[in-house]
Symmetry: none
Subunit: 250 residues, 2 copies
């Protein structure tokens, strides 16, 4: 990669140090730099990208701010254990099964808030409600001590008025649904986008305001196609990538 003289870029709003940060972040995300690896020195980064050391220092500082690297006195700067998790999106969306074995073993969900309220128009449309109320649940999920996602879930209130309490008690959507006699459900659609985190999302995900979230909008249905749950999950993009289960060949 060759970066023009930083002075010539200042008008574009994207400074050289930020470009270098993103380049290095990409190397960490792609596992070209792995946890425990030593980060190239300030001097070698400056040489590699043809910038001065002040610029290289800024790039390194931004990585440190995001918790991706850490300095160890006397021995250098290393990629931290801030791992990039791969979250599986598949047909059966049971939370535990949607995570890898290792991930699920140390992953935990928590209900932050819930309410029964009038269905927003879009939610009513997705759940096939002509009118009526929905249960809205706000949740977070962590792996180890790292928050990985925040979710907003909507269920038809007449079908599952107590789903929030069941979820609080069981800690899992699958277990909560089973407590209401629903043993199987399927992922009918998932649409993935990305945007900047809101202040609240940044706080809950322990990322800096304006960091990126992957947004997955999904509809789960009963095996007969009846809409069951509409949910919008925001994943901290600096920690999570979504692994899309391939459809089976016909």
């Amino acid at each position: 990669m060759t970066i023009p003289d930083p002075a010539t870029r200042s008008s574009s709003g994207y400074s050289a140090w930020r470009l270098i940060t993103e380049e290095l972040r990409g190397e960490i995300s792609d596992s070209r730099l792995r946890p425990g690896d030593r980060l190239p020195t300030e001097r070698s980064i400056a040489e590699r990208y043809g910038v001065n050391r002040h610029t290289a220092r800024q790039a390194i500082a931004a990585l440190a701010e995001d918790g991706l690297i850490e300095s160890r006195r006397g021995s250098g700067t290393f990629i931290t254990g801030e791992s990039v998790l791969v979250h599986r999106i598949g047909l059966r969306t049971r939370m535990v099964r949607s995570l890898g074995d290792e991930e699920s073993a140390r992953s935990s969900g928590r209900v932050l808030d819930s309410a029964i309220e009038a269905a927003p128009e879009e939610v009513a449309r997705r759940l096939g409600l002509t009118d009526g109320e929905v249960v809205r649940i706000e949740s977070t999920r962590s792996a180890g001590d790292q928050p990985i996602s925040v979710g907003t879930h909507w269920f038809a209130a007449d079908r599952l008025p107590d789903i929030a309490d069941s979820l609080r008690r069981t800690g899992s959507i699958t277990a909560a649904l089973r407590a209401h006699g629903i043993d199987d459900y399927l992922r009918a659609s998932t649409v993935v986008g990305a945007r900047h985190a809101t202040a609240t999302e940044a706080e809950l995900l322990a990322i800096r305001p304006g960091a990126i979230v992957l947004v997955a909008e999904a509809l789960d249905t009963l095996p007969d196609g009846t809409p069951l749950q509409y949910l919008v999950t925001r994943f901290a993009a600096q920690r999570v990538r979504l692994d899309i289960e391939p459809p089976h060949a016909d």
Copy 2:
């Protein structure tokens, strides 16, 4: 759509303004609001969703930040030419079929550059090469006059040494492969993440430096499982959402 008092939601997940932003983004995406249409006023948005004008203003500001609307002095706020495309990720990855009919009709790909070179370690691993060379192709894809993605494709050079020329000639991966006797191939894996665009990506995608790209890493195989193509596609997140084809039920 009725949204509770924003004050009661501020401690939890999905704030009222964000829900309104997503609702309006959905209307733009569904073409209920089209390029050139006037956005409803702050006052009418506030009334429609039952929120105060500050909340409506936040929702509008978020749309502006993503380039979906623009203010014209003295005449109001309008939907820009930026539409939100939904790009399908499914089992059969033929580019034309992966886009909706309307989208495919006006979508076109272009080869920017290609080279035969030693396989980077990760690429060799994905393509199952122990050593040897790869054909690397850099491409872009536009819908109408809007760039939607940039892609980097790798193929084993011993299998398909002339694939870049075929792609330049035909304009489609599917047609290029067919010219080499490959009539069918399948998407074996897709992993989706998001990050800030590099300067080059921003230029090719006509987005501001630092805007967000969705990054899809994918492996295509022959029906017998032989790796065929490894590719990394970067989509302008402000214009594209990825629609994940659900796996078929067993």
